[in-house]
């Protein structure tokens, strides 16, 4: 768990564990504009990897390439062992995804949402039935299972969305600002779920605007103007930047940005 942050200290690629994401000089251009400018990094199995950057730094574009939704202009990347150019359909099947903006269908019930997503990922009826019960129990939502998702408070919605995103036991789950606007108590419960998923071997790739959450990651990368300007454990980044907090690290790096959104 959190201790792996110190165990993998000094290692940019965390050897000893297989890498489930490998990006090498990954680049995306839109016309003259280079949104992602040759980023290289590896993420190992079961790691919690924080992917930070200011608005417009290129995070979303990079994530879209890693999720198999957008083809890179140049460079290489493999995700869950599959090539982002040729095997993007296989990538989609082996990852989970949730974001703050879109996660569940508001006008489907909790149970229907689970069944819908599990069905899309080709889970069997038996698997869906057994695991739906398990999720509902874990989230204490047994009584609410037949209610529309829109009736749930945001914090519950986000916890449910995360459970749905890892329902098909993906190798990696991509979380795009999963805790935005969530109250501080629920935010911590959400991170507890992240730890449990990581412990079970699921790799977590997460973006956030909360700098205290950056501290909960094993390693953190910070994007500035399309490039990765810093990569390491929170402890390493703070000592390298002579900063007392991740907030300070982020401000020092992001202030250098020359481009807006």
């Amino acid at each position: 768990m959190m201790n792996t942050a110190t165990e993998i200290k000094e290692n940019k690629t965390s050897p000893g564990k297989a890498s489930v994401i490998i990006a090498d000089q990954l680049t995306k251009r839109f016309g003259d504009f280079t949104a992602v400018d040759g980023i290289s990094f590896e993420v190992s199995k079961g790691e919690i990897f924080g992917f930070l950057g200011a608005n417009g730094a290129g995070k979303t574009t990079a994530m879209r390439m890693l999720c198999g939704l957008s083809l890179p202009t140049s460079g290489t990347a493999s995700v869950a062992g599959f090539d982002v150019y040729k095997e993007n359909e296989k990538i989609k099947r082996n990852i989970g995804y949730m974001s703050q903006k879109f996660s569940l269908y508001e006008d489907l019930t909790i149970k229907e949402n689970i069944r819908f997503y599990a069905g899309i990922y080709g889970m069997t009826d038996k698997y869906i039935k057994e695991n739906t019960e398990r999720i509902l129990q874990q989230l204490h939502l047994e009584k609410e299972a037949g209610k529309m998702v829109k009736s749930l408070p945001l914090g519950w919605k986000q916890k449910l969305a995360f459970s749905v995103a890892i329902f098909h036991e993906p190798q990696i789950v991509f979380l795009d600002e999963p805790t935005g606007g969530v109250d501080p108590v629920t935010r911590r419960e959400f991170w507890n779920m992240i730890y449990q998923a990581a412990e079970s071997g699921i790799t977590i790739f997460v973006t956030t605007h909360y700098m205290d959450e950056a501290e909960y990651c094993n390693r953190v990368s910070i994007m500035v103007d399309g490039r990765i300007d810093a990569l390491g454990t929170p402890t390493e980044l703070k000592s390298n930047m002579k900063a007392s907090s991740m907030d300070e690290v982020f401000l020092k790096l992001a202030r250098k940005a020359t481009r807006g959104e």
């Binding site: 606007g181 969530v182 501080p184 501290e215």
Partner: protein, 305 residues
């Protein structure tokens, strides 16, 4: 004098069968010229409160005044006097920057020139793009345009609903610096945010959760109300540490907080007792320090009390 008075305001949504009470008797009193923060997570009732105060929603109970005018009876007059920047970008996407500004100025029977001094600092940053359509602006520029449009009629009270949500840490700092300078011009500002760390930028804040105000005070006042001893603890294996901390009989609460765990101690319990307890559990190389709570600690304590 008060710029905004909210007295026991109630707002309910939905049919009788499935009713949600968004505001459960909220009361606040905002002084003229104050920079007042409404701090709480999504679903706490911040937007409902702003919509009642900007006369876009009728309250189901209680009363409220803005600049001495009643939000129900004097709604037309209030609309002349307040500026409102909703959480969702609400300008005309297919009008240019300049056209949006002119539109709002005209509606309020004024001109950009008349109040240019007020918006100058903000508007000058987007003026080079004045012929660009609003829909084509970046998030940060949209925000500056929306703020300029909300200010163009020189409102006496400005309502900003979550202006910094989803905005990165650097832009958030810049935005708050902008608000401080606006406040110096004598405008009363009510601003809502889910980010607890922004409380320190306000003169006073109201902490809101599930439609109820938990506390209203200066940021320092809220921190001073936190009576229990608070300790930050760090060790090599943080998750296991948290489990042990939660079992410490002298703790009221223990939770992760950035690189440390925070432990709220029951009154009469000291740091030393916690130290001994952890030593007894076999913990070595523990880093521990007594700390002053920040607003997030206070918010969680209030949520759980």
């Amino acid at each position: 004098m008060s710029a905004v008075i909210v007295d026991n305001v109630v707002k309910k949504y939905g049919s009788k069968k499935e009713q949600v009470t968004a505001l459960k008797g909220v009361s606040i009193d905002v002084k003229k010229g104050e920079l007042f923060g409404i701090i709480g997570p999504d679903g706490a009732g911040k937007t409902s409160l702003f919509r009642v105060l900007t006369t876009l929603l009728l309250p189901d109970g209680g009363r409220a005044t803005v600049d001495g005018m009643d939000v129900v009876k004097d709604y037309k007059a209030i609309r002349q006097h307040v500026g409102y920047m909703p959480g969702r970008f609400s300008l005309y996407q297919d009008l240019t920057v300049a056209e949006n500004m002119e539109f709002f100025a005209t509606i309020f029977n004024t001109t950009i020139e008349e109040n240019y001094d007020l918006v100058k600092e903000i508007y000058s940053q987007i003026e080079p793009f004045k012929d660009r359509r609003a829909g084509k602006l970046s998030g940060g520029m949209k925000q500056k345009l929306a703020l300029s449009c909300a200010l163009i009629h020189r409102p006496s009270v400005l309502f900003l609903d979550e202006p910094t949500t989803g905005v990165d840490a650097v832009s958030r700092k810049e935005f708050w610096e902008m608000l401080k300078r606006l406040k110096e011009q004598g405008i009363t500002i009510l601003v809502s945010t889910p980010y607890m760390d922004e409380a320190s930028m306000c003169d006073r804040v109201a902490l809101i959760q599930s439609g109820e105000i938990m506390s209203v005070n200066t940021p320092q006042g809220i921190i001073d109300q936190f009576k229990n001893p608070l300790v930050a603890v760090k060790a090599a294996t943080m998750l296991h540490l948290l489990n042990d901390l939660k079992e410490f009989p002298g703790q009221l609460d223990a939770y992760p907080f950035g690189e440390f765990h925070h432990v709220v101690l029951k009154e009469g319990n000291s740091e030393n007792e916690l130290k001994n307890y952890l030593a007894g559990k076999g913990w070595k190389d523990i880093e521990m320090k007594k700390i002053t709570p920040d607003i997030e600690d206070c918010f969680m304590a209030l949520m759980k009390s």
